[in-house]
């Protein structure tokens, strides 16, 4: 190092025990820059998502009454308990500061039909948290949307209750209905747009009131807690594809607005696909993600055996997200295009 060993004396002039000049007793804190951060946190983001889901949840309760309340409560509580137990097993802190388990429970409940048995809903929530999230390492490490994993599991394990619907305001007396998508696909019966918008239709808890979902979704977008590119690309793709088919044959294929407003598309586009952990990290990647989901949704809806394809489409796009991330690295400022 430097040769001259003479040490400067301005520092050692002070009391050797107190090497720093400072007000009595207050040590100086050292940190690496930057020294300020924005007033944001994971907790704030999670709770804003829960807030955004409130309108849809409230509408679900209005339309389906007590069963909606029970389903939501049961799913949320089982998710929380599962999370606490697994954290205990892992030796992590049991204080669940972020609301991610609540969101998983709430979203899962919103994908269930109102008549779904509560016991099965518990199993679904446990599966969603344990296998959908914790097995991968917990928050931030999961590849698939946990709520959708839970739903996929329930669809496979309890296919009949998962596809049994009722209309709103109806007491459960065994008369089952069908969702608008199901009605169109299997019976070619259309549903009017007003019903779709307000939600006076059969479907899962979160599939009903389009306005409530869109309102909550926009709230998230404005706060920048959801990437606007995903719902935009997903819905635009659905719009374009459905318009194309409808123009070719408007008897065989439903009109674009119907596709946009029915099924789990809006809930999926605004709340499932935008799940931060499972969507791409690059701007270009999010466009591809949304478009891919849109294409898959339409393929399943138009040509698949099921009436609704949102869940599987998003899960499939989650699966290819690491691949998308790898190949959509943004161009660095000043980088020469290769």
């Amino acid at each position: 190092m430097e040769p001259t060993p003479e040490k400067m004396t301005n520092q050692s002039k002070k009391d050797p025990k107190e090497a720093f000049w400072k007000p009595e007793g207050i040590p100086l804190v050292l940190a690496s820059s930057p020294h300020v951060t924005k007033n944001t946190s994971v907790v704030k983001i999670m709770w804003s998502v829960i807030l955004a889901l409130l309108p849809a949840s409230v509408m679900a309760v209005i339309y389906f009454g007590r069963s909606a309340v029970f389903l939501i409560v049961v799913c949320v509580i089982s998710s929380l308990i599962t999370e606490v137990i697994i954290r205990f097993i892992k030796g992590q802190s049991l204080i669940i500061k972020d609301g991610s388990a609540i969101i998983t429970g709430l979203l899962l409940a919103l994908t269930l039909p109102p008549t779904f048995p509560l016991s099965s809903a518990v199993i679904g929530s446990v599966f969603a948290i344990a296998i959908g999230k914790q097995v991968f390492g917990g928050l931030g490490y999961n590849i698939f949307n946990p709520a959708l994993i839970g739903r996929a599991f329930l669809q496979a394990s309890f296919p009949v209750p998962m596809t049994t619907w009722v209309l709103p305001f109806v007491k459960f007396d065994g008369i089952s209905a069908a969702t608008p998508l199901g009605l169109f696909k299997f019976e070619k019966i259309s549903t009017d747009l007003l019903s779709l918008l307000t939600g006076n239709i059969g479907g899962t808890l979160g599939e009903t009131c389009a306005l409530a979902i869109i309102g909550g979704g926009l709230f998230l977008l404005i706060l920048h807690h959801a990437d606007w590119r995903i719902p935009l690309s997903c819905l635009a793709t659905v719009l374009i594809i459905s318009t194309g088919f409808w123009l070719v044959n408007d008897r065989e294929f439903a009109n674009p607005l119907f596709h946009l407003l029915s099924g789990g598309l809006l809930l999926g586009a605004f709340f499932m696909a935008t799940d931060m952990v499972t969507s791409p990290i690059t701007p270009k990647g999010t466009w591809i993600f949304g478009m891919g989901a849109g294409v898959l949704i339409m393929v399943i809806r138009l040509f698949g055996g099921l009436a609704e394809g949102v869940m599987y489409s998003i899960l499939l796009m989650n699966a290819v997200t690491p691949l998308i991330n790898r190949y959509t690295k943004p161009q660095i400022f000043g980088e020469k295009p290769k």
Partner: protein, 442 residues
């Protein structure tokens, strides 16, 4: 109009009200100054004075070694007490000359041309070099190097940087208001040296009085400069972002502004150029923003290079009880100080005295891939990825993802909701990638 901004960036709270409207004050000359022999990027100076030598104000005490180096001068008139190692703000031991002041200034002026407008660029460059002028915005790069462009990379535009995008700092703002003439003269001198065809002055819109004053003086002096008000966004004052905003040119990765025909200088540097070329005074003083909520009397002070920080703090009323974090520079890129007896050097633009925020000592959470950092990074990097690479020691990958392009602005850490130390990890990664490159090259 070319008033577009750059993309991404963040909006920290400006906090300029502590010192924005306070005129620059002088404080009594300190009894002792400590002049480090390295206050710039490049090689350290070699001392050319000895113990017990008498030195005048402005006398060279450290000779530049090599082209990328800059001489240092005594900032007071006095006697050399000792030459030894002193710790700088980064904890690195630097050879430093300690001078005891014996009285008022007895100047040793530079040799300057009679009329700079008739002098050659080489002559002006010599004066800038001998004056020890380095980038006053914080980078401390020797200015004479920047102002001697290569023949194969001609400069057509010069940008004067009056942005001062860091929160709290207001020294540039005040000198734009109070030393407007000298700054504009400096800009004219610089443009002559570069043979630049167009000149721009970039000022953020949160300084409307400075924009107005500069505009008026440009008009009054009939200068061919253009004052460009810029959107208030951090880091607008970073060279690459400034060039993008004003000229819409992107400095290539691994390159310099000269590669796109532009040179950028801080307003303080322009001021120093005038004082050197027109008045024959080397760089021995600067304006520093002493600010923060834990300082009794925040103010903008003009101090001599080498003044100990605790001396200046005393003249600002001293620290309050709650002062636990003293930062040299602004809150986004400044350095935490561990010892307040360090001397103020050429590139120290401000000192922020505040209470350390307790929240930042929390454990960082997992990355939730919210991509706030990706949306904030002005260099279009993937900070979450780069930090993860550094953490897992995947240095090859981090190099491929462009870790060396990071300008360490801190935008990523600012926005992270999980409070992950992204930039801190990236710094580690950059260091090791550079070390590996050096090893590979040798």
């Amino acid at each position: 109009m070319r008033h577009q901004s750059f993309r991404h960036g963040v909006h920290p709270k400006e906090e300029k009200s502590y010192t924005q409207s306070k005129s620059i004050e002088s404080i009594p000359l300190p009894d002792e100054v400590f002049i480090p022999l390295q206050q710039h990027i490049g090689r350290a100076c070699t001392a050319i004075v000895n113990k017990k030598d008498e030195v005048k104000t402005g006398q060279v005490i450290g000779k530049a070694s090599g082209f990328i180096s800059s001489p240092v001068h005594s900032s007071v008139t006095g006697i050399v007490k000792e030459i030894g190692l002193n710790m700088n703000h980064l904890g690195v031991r630097i050879p430093t000359v300690r001078i005891q002041r014996t009285g008022d200034d007895d100047w040793q002026y530079l040799t300057i041309p009679d009329n700079w407008q008739l002098a050659s660029s080489e002559e002006l460059n010599r004066v800038v070099f001998e004056a020890g002028i380095v980038g006053m915005g914080g980078a401390a790069f020797p200015s004479h190097v920047k102002l001697s462009p290569l023949l194969e990379k001609p400069v057509d535009s010069f940008i004067l940087n009056g942005c001062e995008c860091e929160p709290y700092l207001t020294c540039d703002h005040r000198i734009m208001l109070e030393q407007t003439d000298k700054i504009l003269t400096g800009m004219a001198i610089i443009m002559k040296m570069l043979a630049a065809k167009q000149g721009f002055i970039g000022i953020e819109k949160n300084k409307p009085d400075a924009i107005k004053k500069m505009r008026e003086q440009v008009k009054a002096g009939d200068y061919p400069f253009k004052v460009v008000p810029l959107k208030v966004k951090y880091p607008q004052g970073a060279e690459k972002m400034l060039i993008k905003a004003i000229l819409n040119r992107k400095v290539p990765t691994g390159g310099l502004p000269g590669d796109v025909g532009v040179i950028v200088h801080n307003v303080g540097t322009a001021l120093a150029v005038t004082e050197a070329v027109v008045e024959g005074k080397p760089l021995i003083k600067r304006v520093v923003s002493m600010t923060g909520d834990a300082l009794h009397s925040p103010k903008n002070v003009e101090i001599r290079i080498g003044s100990p920080l605790n001396y200046i703090i005393k003249h600002c009323g001293g620290l309050k009880e709650e002062a636990t974090s003293i930062i040299l520079g602004g809150p986004m890129m400044g350095v935490s100080l561990f010892d307040l007896s360090i001397p103020i050097v050429k590139a120290s633009s401000g000192v922020l005295c505040t209470r350390h925020p307790q929240k930042s000592s929390q454990e960082p959470g997992p990355c939730i891939r919210c991509n706030s950092c990706v949306s904030a990074c002005p260099m279009f990097l993937l900070p979450n990825r780069l930090a993860r690479f550094s953490e897992k020691e995947f240095y090859e990958e981090s190099d491929r993802f462009g870790i060396l392009n990071c300008i360490e602005c801190g935008c990523c850490v600012y926005v992270c909701p999980s409070k992950i130390p992204l930039l801190q990890w990236i710094r580690v990664g950059k260091f090791i990638v550079n070390e590996n490159k050096k090893l590979a090259a040798s």
